[in-house]
């Protein structure tokens, strides 16, 4: 554990130093992420201002779902999601071999080298949005907060699993940057209240492709709309994380490097 912490600290120092070489670019990237994350809430605001709404959801409740989604990305992206980009480029260039030679587990090294400080910008937009959403709601109970924290951990676990799946795919589907588009498309379902989907789609988004667990389920818990039964959602989250790890290792075995 101490070794992992030391590695992470070393990577964070290096990446931050790298970003500081292009400070204006770093600032703009953070700004971009803040603006980018606020686009969907902005669209939601425009639609509510036009007099429409998601049935059964006030503006602040709908924004809460989007805030939780952004917050989850704000934690998962800097720490896990960068591995998708690094796998994409390193497998294509053939430099992924260097990770195989290091005296640490390959998955850990792939995650560590993907560390991306830019993505902390999402924490800013998520926190601002979270504050705005909560300002229009009654204060959640302690029980709701406890449920929320547990489900939020599940949410991050799901995003970590998705990173593993996408990164694993890139050992076979070499150099395809479209995995980012696929991620955006599939997780888009998780940015809106789950009740707008049909029952079958809701079940699909909870138990099969659990993107509903990224934001909708934790937000529902915080709103006090669910009981302890919701914590069953932790199981699919743990399951998909385990599957993600197995998938990644399986795909790694198929990595052929430049020599075939």
């Amino acid at each position: 554990m101490r070794g992992i912490a030391l590695c992470l600290a070393a990577v964070m120092r290096t990446k931050l130093a790298e970003q500081m070489a292009y400070r204006s670019h770093f600032a703009l990237s953070v700004l971009l992420l803040v603006i980018g994350d606020l686009v969907v809430p902005f669209v939601t605001l425009l639609v509510y201002n036009a007099g429409a709404s998601f049935p059964g959801w006030t503006l602040h409740e709908a924004l809460l779902v989007q805030a939780v989604f952004t917050l989850a990305k704000g934690i998962a992206f800097p720490f896990f999601f960068g591995m998708v980009g690094t796998t994409l480029s390193q497998v294509r260039e053939g430099t992924f071999d260097l990770l195989l030679l290091r005296p640490r587990p390959v998955m850990m090294m792939a995650i560590l080298t993907g560390f991306d400080p830019d993505d902390f910008g999402r924490l800013i937009s998520g926190s601002v949005l979270f504050g705005v959403a909560l300002s229009g709601l009654s204060i959640p109970s302690g029980f709701a907060w406890l449920q929320f924290v547990l489900l939020f951990i599940a949410s991050i676990a799901i995003l970590c699993a998705v990173s593993l799946f996408l990164s694993g795919m890139l050992f076979r589907w070499v150099g395809s940057s479209r995995v980012f588009d696929i991620f955006d498309a599939v997780t888009r379902f998780g940015m809106y209240p789950g009740t707008i989907y049909s029952k079958s789609v809701q079940n699909l988004l909870t138990y099969v492709l659990p993107v509903g667990l990224i934001a909708f389920v934790p937000a529902t818990a915080l709103l006090g709309r669910s009981g302890w039964g919701t914590l069953w959602a932790l199981l699919p989250a743990a399951g998909i994380l385990l599957l993600g790890g197995l998938f990644w290792n399986r795909m790694l075995r198929g990595y052929t490097s430049a020599g075939g």
């Binding site: 204006s24 971009l32 603006i35 969907v40 639609v47 036009a50 998601f54 395809s176 498309a185």
Partner: protein, 271 residues
């Protein structure tokens, strides 16, 4: 004579790009998953929003789906990465080889785009269009085919010109990727990719009316559907396409001026 030589050059570059990208068909074919999935989300969102109401900001549910369906196809047709490409060439120094050629780089980039998007027509545009029509039941029939086609062609050019101007910032900035990404995001918001511009507050609509971005997505989509309205101004389809053509001409002049200023600034090994 000059025109036939230029068109031969464009055809040759376009065809080479077409063949190059045909080797990466699966990259483009990912749109067959991405486009319909994103559209499915829109279907659910607007189904919920239209619950108990006939119209929203003057658009019916069917028109709203058509808007997003057509906007998606226009996005695929006019998709462009001239900005990224140009910035990469400038940053890596590879632009030197283009500075020495007897062909302006903007024309080369336009020819590349023509080849790239020709491939997209049958790998992305047509299959996604068929999915929209037969799976989602979206009305994809243009209200008036001639203005719609003309407007999409102008949108193709406008997107190229705007992106190329963004790419030209690389001649002034050391690392322009951040600027590029911020600008492109704002461009998409201002073009009506995420929501029709008629949903924006009046003051923003008035500003957006005079910016070039609406001519990339919003205007061609509304022309395709058959009714254009923004900032309280209603135009006939002919007027709308005429306005778009004028905006493209202004943008082209601006791009050429910026391009020559950029070339004067360019320094490279041996240049």
């Amino acid at each position: 004579m000059v025109i036939s030589r230029i068109s031969a050059v464009i055809r040759a570059i376009g065809f080479a790009t077409y063949k190059e990208w045909a080797a990466f068909r699966s990259h483009m074919a990912a749109s067959l998953l991405v486009g319909p999935v994103l559209f499915l989300v829109q279907v659910f969102i607007w189904q919920a929003m239209y619950d108990g109401r006939e119209t929203l900001n003057g658009l019916s549910y069917a028109q709203m789906l058509s808007y997003f369906g057509v906007a998606t196809l226009i996005h695929y047709i006019s998709f462009d990465f001239a900005d990224w490409n140009l910035q990469m060439l400038v940053r890596s120094g590879k632009f030197v080889t283009f500075a020495l050629r007897p062909l302006p780089h903007w024309l080369f980039a336009l020819a590349q785009k023509l080849g790239h998007r020709s491939l997209a027509l049958y790998v992305e545009v047509l299959p996604v269009m068929l999915l929209f029509i037969f799976v989602f039941g979206v009305n994809m029939k243009p209200a008036a085919p001639c203005p719609a086609i003309l407007s999409i062609l102008l949108s193709f050019l406008m997107n190229f010109l705007v992106n190329y101007c963004v790419g030209l910032t690389a001649f002034w900035l050391v690392r322009a990727e951040g600027v590029r990404r911020v600008f492109l995001l704002l461009k998409d918001v201002s073009a009506g990719v995420f929501i029709p511009l008629s949903f924006f507050p009046d003051i923003l609509q008035k500003i957006l009316f005079f910016l070039p971005f609406q001519f990339i997505t919003y205007l061609p989509t509304r022309v395709y559907i058959g009714h254009y309205e923004l900032a309280g101004m209603e135009l006939t389809l002919g007027q709308a396409v005429g306005l778009q053509a004028a905006a493209v001409a202004v943008m082209a002049a601006l791009t050429l001026a910026l391009y020559s200023a950029a070339l004067r600034r360019f320094t490279g090994v041996g240049v």
